[in-house]
């Protein structure tokens, strides 16, 4: 009988920086593109189809003194290989249940803040580096940049005894599918994004809403227009303390303004955002972005991805009195022509121009850490 490891257990191992041996049996190009990252993980990649007649060729390369987790795309091949290893006498072998597909879809819930009036949860999509949020005040919840796994947000709302009444997207995502529209339909919540981002379904345009109103006066949400990453990028400033920065400011850098093919134009926007809007915000504002690039570097001691604006500014030269011309030159120089894979399909779906089945959604998102692709350390 093969022992299983769940994606939740795997997430714990990543967060606790445990030591683990990953035997990845996907084909070599898939492994090169994308794998489970852990600070103290060791890896061996041998495709399962080289192990169909037996595992003799690899037993000498596997450790006896630490746990081995066999990983494949969906779980079938890992079970097949793990079974052979178990029969060969390895009692330290597990298979990752659901494979990389389950890994890609798992959200880890982290606590950002809690007092009597306000709670903030961060949802970390560890397999891909995407972050979304739930802000709870009174009996209402606001969801920021929801992913397509909308059951997760609904379950949390149910556990908390609150109703999701407001949903916001910081911009039109190009690297992953938004759950905003589906979650709004399911919950009846008001869904806000910028009209200029090109969505064709019904929503509340942020062009006409500088604040988002809650019943409870303890929650003040300002929609701060922060163009740069996209012309319609918005950050949400909650109670003057938390800045949900979308892809505008990350813990480790600024968002790429080069995805629209107009880098020179958007770089000017980004400069104005950083030196006008963000410069006016205090150092103790906590930045909560929509992505991270490196979990080990960007997660803080409290277990969520975020940092104070002061520390982010101190680390990032681009945010420290850069002359405008120099800032724009540097952004243009570091611009890449590479776009996230399936970029056009994902944008079309997020705009509501196209609908696809769940299998296709998985496929469009599967693979490398696409979210981090536009995580430029400019």
């Amino acid at each position: 009988m093969v022992k299983e490891m769940t994606v939740q257990q795997m997430t714990e191992k990543v967060f606790n920086k445990e030591s683990l041996f990953i035997l990845d049996v996907r084909n070599e190009s898939d492994f090169r593109d994308w794998k489970i990252e852990g600070e103290n993980f060791d890896y061996l990649n041998v495709p399962y189809f080289e192990l169909i007649d037996g595992v003799d060729s690899i037993v000498d390369r596997l450790p006896k003194d630490k746990d081995i987790v066999v990983v494949c795309a969906k779980g079938g091949s890992a079970a097949f290989v793990a079974e052979q290893l178990t029969e060969a006498g390895f009692d330290n072998v597990y298979m990752l249940a659901g494979g990389m597909q389950a890994w890609s879809e798992h959200l880890h819930q982290a606590n950002v803040y809690e007092d009597d009036l306000l709670k903030i949860y961060q949802f970390i999509r560890v397999g891909k580096g995407c972050l979304s949020y739930m802000v709870i005040s009174g009996s209402e919840a606001l969801v920021v940049d929801p992913l397509r796994f909308i059951d997760v947000y609904e379950q949390v709302a149910q556990q908390e005894g609150v109703k999701i009444t407001h949903i916001v997207d910081s911009h039109l995502h190009a690297d992953h599918l938004s759950g905003g529209k589906a979650l709004a339909e399911r919950t009846g919540a008001a869904y806000y994004l910028m009209k200029s981002e090109g969505a064709v379904f019904d929503f509340k345009p942020l062009e006409q809403h500088d604040t988002i109103d809650f019943e409870n006066v303890h929650l003040e949400v300002l929609a701060v227009k922060t163009p740069g990453h996209t012309p319609g990028s918005v950050s949400f400033f909650v109670n003057g303390k938390w800045l949900f920065s979308g892809d505008t400011i990350f813990v480790g850098g600024l968002g790429r303004p080069d995805l629209g093919g107009k880098v020179a134009e958007w770089a000017v926007d980004l400069y104005d955002t950083v030196y006008e809007k963000v410069a006016a915000m205090a150092d103790d504002v906590i930045v909560l972005p929509a992505h991270y690039a490196n979990l080990d570097e960007e997660i803080n001691a409290e277990g969520y991805v975020g940092d104070t604006l002061g520390r982010i500014r101190a680390r990032n030269e681009m945010m420290q009195n850069k002359p405008k011309d120099e800032f724009i030159d540097l952004v243009i120089q570091s611009a890449k022509t590479e776009t996230p894979p399936n970029f056009e399909d994902i944008v079309a779906i997020n705009r509501g121009l196209k609908t696809v089945d769940i299998e296709t959604q998985r496929e469009l998102e599967i693979g490398p850490n696409r979210c981090a692709l536009h995580h430029a350390h400019v």
């Binding site: 084909n27 070599e28 190009s29 898939d30 495709p47 399962y48 189809f49 080289e50 169909i52 494949c72 795309a73 969906k74 079938g76 091949s77 097949f80 299998e359 496929e363």
Partner: protein, 189 residues
């Protein structure tokens, strides 16, 4: 429809089963024969390709039809590197490319139909080497016949057969489709 020597049905199966079945089937085939693997697991495409590369079999391509992926693989021979050609009249790929629009030219592709389907010279006529003996009547005696295969080996044998049967304007194209940089027609999008 692409003509194949064996078909494996792996529809509805997830990995590793499509490859397990493919491996079993290929063991039953003769070198040079073509296998079609029908699968619905989207991941099977990259895996079949990588498996073929690692085992030395020739991955020809994949066609998707109504949600079914049809993968085509040609079993490689033990020593499938180009042997010394024995047919004396040879032309290079480049020379053939210049002659393509000459009305006197006739291009005969002797590879398997599945190989032909995944990329052939526009206008080339497909007669697999194994069928050539019985289908020579389809060939013109008054044109120059350029015989092409993947590496020049099968076309060499074909050219010799044609010469024996009295075709006196036959050219073996070397190396053939493996290095072809000219125009291609293909079933694959």
């Amino acid at each position: 429809m692409i003509k194949v020597d064996m078909t494996v049905d792996a529809k509805g199966l997830s990995c590793p089963m499509p490859i397990v079945r493919t491996k079993k089937a290929i063991n039953e085939l003769q070198p040079g024969q073509v296998l079609e693997v029908q699968a619905t697991d989207k991941g099977s495409k990259a895996d079949i390709k990588a498996w073929a590369e690692s085992t030395g079999h020739q991955y020809l391509g994949t066609i998707e039809e109504n949600g079914v992926l049809k993968h085509y693989i040609r079993k490689s021979a033990e020593n499938e590197t180009r042997k010394e050609t024995t047919f004396p009249h040879v032309v290079s790929n480049e020379e053939l490319q210049e002659k393509l629009h000459d009305p006197d030219s006739f291009v005969l592709d002797v590879r398997e139909p599945a190989e032909y389907a995944f990329g052939h010279i526009p206008g080339a006529v497909s007669i697999p080497l194994g069928e050539l003996e019985n289908r020579m009547a389809e060939l013109p005696k008054d044109k120059t016949i350029y015989v092409v295969c993947r590496t020049g080996t099968r076309s060499d044998l074909a050219a010799q057969k044609l010469a024996e049967k009295g075709f006196d304007r036959v050219r073996n194209v070397i190396p053939g489709m493996s290095q072809w940089n000219g125009p291609l027609d293909s079933a694959q999008s």
